[in-house]
Symmetry: C2
Subunit: 486 residues, 2 copies
């Protein structure tokens, strides 16, 4: 690594982070690591880093036990995470009530991406990381991916490389630090700090880490199941601005997948406040209306008391085979010490998650939905246009299916992005979603006023992500994916 670390930073000017990140985003061929070197390294990691994952009945999981009467499934330390029942009631108009298991993990973890300038271009230290739940085991993760139990060593384990760069004492310049929710239908109150920190220290690059430009990373979002969920959510929090670039770059790259759409994205990223269909105050009012009209109460309940769910020694499953199951796995890595057992949440099918886009007064907008999920801190967050598990609607008539669901599944030549990506492999088993960006042109119903939907510019969405608990994890993934298209 020594020849890499000896390259001096050539940047003397001081630019705001937005244009600096965008400049790194234009370096799709790489600066420090070429795409060819990256591919060779990734192939090598894929042959060396493997885990064996085998099913184990929940009742037999080492280090875990059901509490009395199978009320909940907990770690022997009482920390880490647990599986509990939730009784959900919405007392607003059209009241709904349901019960379900949720992963309870009330700690705040860190998803940290380390940044450093090489040759005047920001680079990000990406990790090749294997997770037991991933179908494609090895994926690209941020520099640090640590629960609080992890980094305070509740359940043993080795020190976490590069963690110090994200803790107060050893921290460099903070580029982003936002508390974000994760799947609110699967987690109760789970949040992670999404951090991007720039260092000027000499950094030793370990075997399973590589410095990549933002351009390299965002283009890798075209590869199925490669950029993991934790990377995608942190990438969504990286500030991006397509104005203020110093070297006259006034548009996206000519080699973008669809140059015309790329130019529209680039334009929407610099849209003025007045170019949006709604002001930020109007978006805020819309979310507050939902908060006031849809108060959600989430109360604890024993797992065995859950209507519609069956708890056995083996697993926790929905009686109609919908939603997900909670299963147990035994994990073994290369070394003897890399062995543990844990529960995972296994969705029953591949999710569908989509953004609709269209031009409004010449500016590309994205159709956001008010997503209400029981695990959220504050009832509602901005979600993708469509987000669902197809199994839930397998036997539903068209009018009961989510708005635009059939439209998205039937889209063909107006699909701008369509890639299978994995959710967190440390908590979920083979959880994958098909992420789509569909440009709906002048589809008339897309402009019909609807209480659950609002159009926003890409710049607005980019700004809202900087504030805690405003944009859900699926929409953050899609924002990262949108930025793979310029």
């Amino acid at each position: 690594m020594s020849e890499i670390l000896s390259r001096p930073s050539a940047s003397a000017e001081v630019l705001p982070d937005g244009p600096r990140v965008t400049r790194s985003g234009l370096a799709t061929e790489g600066v420090l690591t070429t795409n060819e070197e990256f591919a060779a390294w990734l192939g090598e990691r894929e042959t060396t880093d493997r885990m064996t994952v085998e099913r184990v009945p929940l009742a037999d999981l080492k280090g875990w036990h059901f509490t009395e009467g199978r009320a909940s499934l907990v770690h022997d330390s009482g920390k880490f995470f647990s599986i509990r029942g939730a009784d959900v009631t919405s007392t607003g108009p059209g009241p709904r009530a349901w019960q379900q298991p949720l992963i309870h993990q009330p700690e705040v973890g860190i998803l940290g991406l380390l940044a450093k300038e090489f040759g005047g271009v920001l680079h990000f230290l990406m990790q090749a990381k294997i997770e037991p739940g991933n179908r494609r085991q090895l994926q690209l993760s941020p520099t640090v991916q640590a629960t609080r139990s992890n980094y305070t060593k509740v359940h043993g384990g080795a020190a976490i490389p590069y963690l110090d760069h994200f803790l107060p004492e050893g921290r460099g310049r903070v580029i982003a630090d936002v508390l974000q929710s994760e799947q609110g239908a699967w987690f109760l109150g789970k949040r992670n700090r999404n951090m991007v920190v720039e260092t000027t220290d000499e950094i030793e690059v370990r075997d399973n880490f590589r410095w990549l430009t933002y351009g390299q990373i965002r283009r890798l979002l075209a590869v199925p199941n490669l950029v993991n969920m934790d990377s995608r959510t942190v990438l969504a929090c990286v500030p991006i601005a397509t104005d203020g670039l110093p070297d006259g770059s006034d548009g996206p790259l000519a080699d973008a997948p669809d140059p015309e759409f790329a130019a529209e994205l680039w334009h929407s990223l610099r849209a003025a406040d007045a170019d949006g269909r709604h002001t930020d105050a109007e978006i805020s009012a819309w979310l507050n209306d939902v908060r006031v009209d849809t108060p959600l109460a989430v109360g604890p309940i024993e797992l065995t008391g859950l209507r519609e769910w069956q708890v056995s020694d083996d697993e926790i499953a929905h009686r109609q085979g919908k939603h997900f199951r909670i299963i147990g796995v035994s994990v073994r890595g290369r070394r003897e010490v890399d062995a543990w057992q844990q529960p995972l949440l296994a969705p029953v099918d591949v999710g569908i998650v989509a953004f609709l886009t269209r031009r409004i007064d010449g500016v590309l907008h994205v159709l956001m939905r008010a997503a209400v999920e029981p695990g959220f801190l504050d009832v509602v967050e901005l979600g993708p246009t469509v987000q669902c598990s197809p199994a839930t609607y397998a036997d539903a008539p068209p009018e009961r299916r989510p708005r635009f669901y059939d439209y998205v599944l039937g889209a063909t030549d107006n699909v701008r992005y369509d890639v299978l990506l994995s959710e967190e492999g440390g908590r979920f088993y083979h959880a994958e979603c098909r992420y789509l960006v569909v440009d709906c042109g002048d589809l008339p119903e897309a402009l019909e006023p609807h209480p659950d939907f609002r159009w926003m510019t890409v710049r607005q969405l980019t700004a809202w992500v900087q504030h805690r608990n405003c944009v859900n994890v699926q929409a953050r993934t899609l924002l990262a994916c949108l930025n793979s298209l310029w």
Copy 2:
């Protein structure tokens, strides 16, 4: 009122809200209502609108009762609000634990300010409103000040004038809509929607309402106990921008209380991101550090189980006479129907709330403190430099008193603002704070790094207020007061 309503709006240009509000802020002499007319109207209201308020033992309050064993004090409807015990534990470094009564009111109310242009200048419809807890009973409130129980008629009462302008069906253009906390040391999880809505409808002006410019309202903040808490927090959410003014106004008014300080405020309101001592991402990281290191657990406890508090038929009081008491009052207005009884929280003394300001690299900054209060949604919010009840520190040695407390109390010719203002008179009895802005010049310790404090520009603070639960109610009041000084 007819001659007022027939004045046409002269404004044809479309300006963003920030400069429009600022232009209204420069109209300190009034446009529609002169200051003289306002003073006459206010005097008239003060002679006609009065309430008689008498102490009643808590156990005798009509419409209220202690639950079994005096566990809590509740409204007979089970709604409205209640007084409950809270057991507070902080599990972070230097753990602290205490118990106290809190006002429990888990609904979201509306503080709504109606705006309309007259003569090309934005006006705001202010209400002369009497509240039982105010020492100066009649104060200026926003157009609408309604709990959800209020406007859904849980405890009877008349229809709320102008409410429709703030509900989804009748709403005009939203200028601001932010969910904000209130006193986190007195309320558990209380939040109000702070709304500013612009209408173009013809508005009938009722006797106890008047249209004022932002300039008139902000200058009234120099008058003790006149602009009520609800007005101050909504005013803090009104967007202000001192750039982009169309008519060449490039500075504050010559008649500002301190023209030099006014010019510095005006400059700080247009400070670029790079002019701040810290970036917004660094401020966010600081608050997240506090959230992670100071997890607060707030659990329910019976009132009679509270250590250090005495519950009697008459009142709930701290055994050492600190903090506050919960008392009962009987209220009678002019008419027979304007009579009710309710509990109120009576602080034992006048609070001290202060901003320190100073120039950093030529730009005026405000010293913000990470305020951790049990009633907050998310542990911590940006608070004033100093915020405390002097009684708490009456017998404490200097080193145990809050940082800058002695400095603020000893300040003389560097005091830019020093006015007694009331807290909410519908829940608090004679609750007043002395609000101060003290310019600390080059006081050396003010620049010393401290984990609880960060310097921010006025523009940064103005932007952070637009996001829910980021700035506490005392700091919002002081932000409104700062804007009374240009």
